[in-house]
Symmetry: C2
DNA sequence: TAGATTGTTAATCGATTAACAATC
DNA sequence: TAGATTGTTAATCGATTAACAATC
């Protein structure tokens, strides 16, 4: 829907705003000014006001922003009222960690299935979801229509499984494999998480301190 | 050392360059032009040349860049020839995943110790490293002098443990806890990985496709 | 009303892209 | 030499910051 001109830089900041506002709300804040929020988040007040004005007028002159109102507006923009059904491919340590620790509900998703190829793992459970054989993916998708997938599989299988998943109706990928997923198909969303690159950046950070 | 004017945007791209060049090298590439690399990475040739010129002249007119030479130069800039001793705090699923799947050696680090507070976990092993009781951190640091730490502990303990670790000589944090670590102390490097924010961004990506 | 703080425009800053002379 | 491709400067684009009138 809103494909208007919200820049990528702004969007990347929205989840963090949403998170901070949630914490403020939990701590009993009712209102907050751009100046105060800027201080807490390490941004400038100007930037915060510019950001929030991309999608309408949420504040009130002389008062500031209503914390819970603003938070729920940002939640709507992020699409968090939908709970997109999501599956996990690869139930190794990382897949297991994500399945058990990520708060899918509050991020706009619901984890509905877990798949792996290794016989020792298949049949086990993570939370209350049973790990299925990846060969039953077709039947599962026909029945449950998941729309998003987490990729925690070996690099070598990523490309093949991605094609398969797209054929099965998956439109969004949270990619943890060791390569950059770039899908040519239009209408597919991809979020690459490259943990190795993140650690490498930290290495530079150490070196450049003196 | 080189605290010159390498912008943050460039630095964020370096690990990815390093990775792509490694793959090219593995595939037998000896030379590559900025145009060809741009195509493979989804960047512009101009940007690549600008980026590489931040730290000297690595290419050769009429020829392009030597793949392995360029890669090792970027490796030096990133500080990957050092193997900074690193410890892991928190050996739950996520900590376990990182300890077993991350290629520390190629990212400028060496994992030298793992700590947890839970009696059921302490004494176990991940790879060939024994999980220690977090109470022996002081002795361990006095002996092994780790300089970096991975935080995979509950949010509630993050602030306290961070202070403790800084006192023990840790100068770099790879932070997976559910809050933004901002260290006031000068001379501390932090890389926050907020997986929840990443997933939230994907939610927006789905919604904004139409 | 007076004080505070937004919404918004204008100014600045930085990053990306385009262009081309230098040179291998 | 001719062709290719860099290194680098100039032009463009976008994002951040500053400023202030509008208004609660």
């Amino acid at each position: 829907m809103s494909k208007s001109a919200i820049s990528n830089s702004v969007i990347r900041r929205l989840p963090r705003y949403y998170r901070f506002l949630g914490e403020l709300e939990a701590n009993g804040y009712v209102r907050i000014s751009s100046r105060e929020l800027a201080e807490k988040m390490g941004l400038t007040a100007s930037q915060i006001r510019q950001d929030f004005n991309c999608f309408g007028e949420f504040g009130q002159q002389g008062y500031g922003y209503n914390v819970s109102g603003l938070r729920s507006e940002i939640g709507k923009i992020l699409g968090l009222e939908c709970k997109t059904p999501m599956i996990l491919l690869g139930a190794g340590n990382l897949g297991r960690a994500l399945a058990s620790h990520i708060d899918f509900q509050n991020r706009g998703f619901e984890l509905v299935g877990i798949f792996d190829a290794s016989p020792e793992i298949i049949g086990g459970k993570i939370g209350d979801i049973t790990i299925n054989d990846i060969s039953v993916l077709e039947e599962f998708c026909a029945e449950h229509h998941p729309q998003a997938a987490i990729l925690c599989i070996p690099k070598t299988e990523a490309s093949r499984e991605t094609d398969r998943l797209i054929r099965l109706g998956i439109r969004a990928f949270w990619n943890f494999t060791h390569y950059d997923l770039r899908v040519d198909h239009k209408g597919i969303a991809v979020e690459n998480v490259h943990l190795g690159d993140s650690l490498t950046t930290l290495s530079y950070g150490i070196k450049s301190m003196d």
